[in-house]
Amino acid sequence: MWRVAVAGDRALLVTLGETIDPSLLGLVLALDRALSDQRPAGLVSSVPAYASLLCRYDPAITDVTRLEDVIRQFEGRLDAAIPAGLVTEVPTQYDGPDLEAVAHKTNLTPADVIDAHASREYLVYCIGFAPGFTYCGTLPDELVVPRLASPRVRVPTGSVAIAGRQTGIYALASPGGWNLIGRTDLRLFEAGATPPVRFKPGDRIRFVPNR
């Protein structure tokens, strides 16, 4: 059962589940598409993330009851499959300041960490936190390490990082608490571009070590 909850006086948060799961992301993206196709009156914009969708509305045009009815009509009727797309290669220099520490924590060599990280295809689950920040999953079990005990004040642009079962790319310099294992020159955010970001949820990527 989806949970539809009030998120302030201008948005509803639809929660479809509580886990990082491709089929939940698939449902979120399908709901997002269905709503943008139907264009219900008063729905202003939506924001997908992992297993939830924020729906912003104009309270002068609609209300939570009407909007929830619109959302609920799709419950149980959506296809969770994520359309297959190309896999984008992310050229990565694995020289991050936390690579050694991650190797130590995981009882691997730095070369093993690199091999494990670059060994699989990842699904983009969310663009969030800061402009273009790309959340991907999920990591192989042997690479699961916690966040840093105290976040860095400034993580450089293009940093490739891991935390828990996730890997991510800092599109811009920002504060951050993930373990930095590498960096990419691929530009993920450009304010003047349409769209301004390189990736969207549902995209597939692979990290390719620079030789």
Binding site: R10, L12, V47, L54, P59, G128
Partner: protein, 303 residues
């Protein structure tokens, strides 16, 4: 042209923001005290989406190189030597030294015609974390020169904006919220206990959000899977403290949200100073809509 002689503590170009780009990780931005900013634009006869200057804690010194019509609203500026909440004609060469902001935290300087900087993703607001917008992609610095635009819609207003149509500018604050959207992350009495607590504003605040302590109250929250966030969301951190999100908030977050400040009361959060106390009170959506109509009515009435 306006020359920035001294930028003050943290001064940026803002307008009504760029909502709608959150799916790209881009915060909505815009003036934190949207009401004071709207009044400032109204007083000088600007279009509602004209860009203006937001000053924080300690304002800038600006030299006007040509004559201009300006208005200052929002947080009180006792040293500016300049009556606020009304439009003034200033001569070429005039220097505005805004000085400290208190009570209140953020003041707005509107210039007839608006501050002319390029639109980026539909807005002239600075997005500091993205290093774009606001003309220079950063807060203002000494030596910056700001052009004046032509986004006017009506003559400047000759009367002072009535005190009866302003929001409180000093604490203790009562801020209206609607509970949620993560009630399941808390025990059932959590919101009631929060609303009985005088929360304390800490110095850890910026345009992204503000940390508040909850003296005598320990809220336990279960972690949630990262979800989208909104301005006004009151997150409960693992240490039990609160982070209330403001205009430049991270678009997603993993701390559960116990309640969300209503749009009409976001200006109050934006003016609360470190050391002030805040009580959160549940008003429900119907009252939230009424309070919004009250403020927008004030702005329309005198249009």
């Amino acid at each position: 042209m306006i020359e920035v002689v001294d930028p003050g503590r943290y001064t940026s170009i803002q307008d009504r923001g760029r909502p709608g780009f959150e799916r790209f990780g881009i915060p909505p931005g815009g003036a934190v005290d949207w009401f004071a900013a709207s009044v400032a634009n109204h007083l000088v006869g600007n279009e509602p989406d004209a860009a203006l200057i937001e000053a924080t804690t300690s304002g800038p010194t600006l030299r006007f190189q040509s004559e201009a019509t300006i208005a200052v609203t929002g947080g009180h500026c006792p040293d500016a030597g300049f009556p606020s909440w009304r439009a003034h004609r200033v001569d070429a060469g005039f220097a505005l030294d805004l000085g400290r902001v208190s009570p209140g935290l953020r003041s707005y300087i509107a210039v007839r015609g608006g501050i002319e900087v390029p639109l980026v993703l539909g807005s002239r607001s600075l997005c500091a974390i993205g290093a774009f917008g606001g003309g220079v992609g950063r807060p203002l610095q000494k030596g910056d020169r700001l052009a004046i635009g032509a986004t006017v819609s009506s003559p400047a207003v000759s009367e002072q904006w009535p005190e009866s149509h302003r929001l409180p500018i000093r604490g203790p604050w009562e801020v209206h919220v609607v509970p949620g959207p993560h009630p399941d992350a808390f025990d059932p009495s959590a919101f009631q206990r929060l609303s009985a607590t005088a929360c304390l504003v800490t110095p850890a605040l910026d345009r992204m959000g503000m940390r508040l302590d909850t003296p005598g109250l320990r809220l336990d929250a279960t972690e949630i899977l990262t979800t989208p966030m909104t301005a006004g969301a009151i997150q409960v951190t693992p240490s039990g403290g609160l982070i209330a999100l403001l205009a430049d908030h991270p678009t997603t977050g993993g701390y559960p949200v116990i309640a969300s400040v209503i749009t009409a009361d976001l200006p109050l959060l934006g003016q609360a100073r470190p050391g002030d106390t805040v009580r959160f009170r549940d008003v429900g959506l119907a009252e939230a809509a009424r309070l919004w109509r009250r403020l927008s009515g004030w702005l329309d009435l005198s249009a």
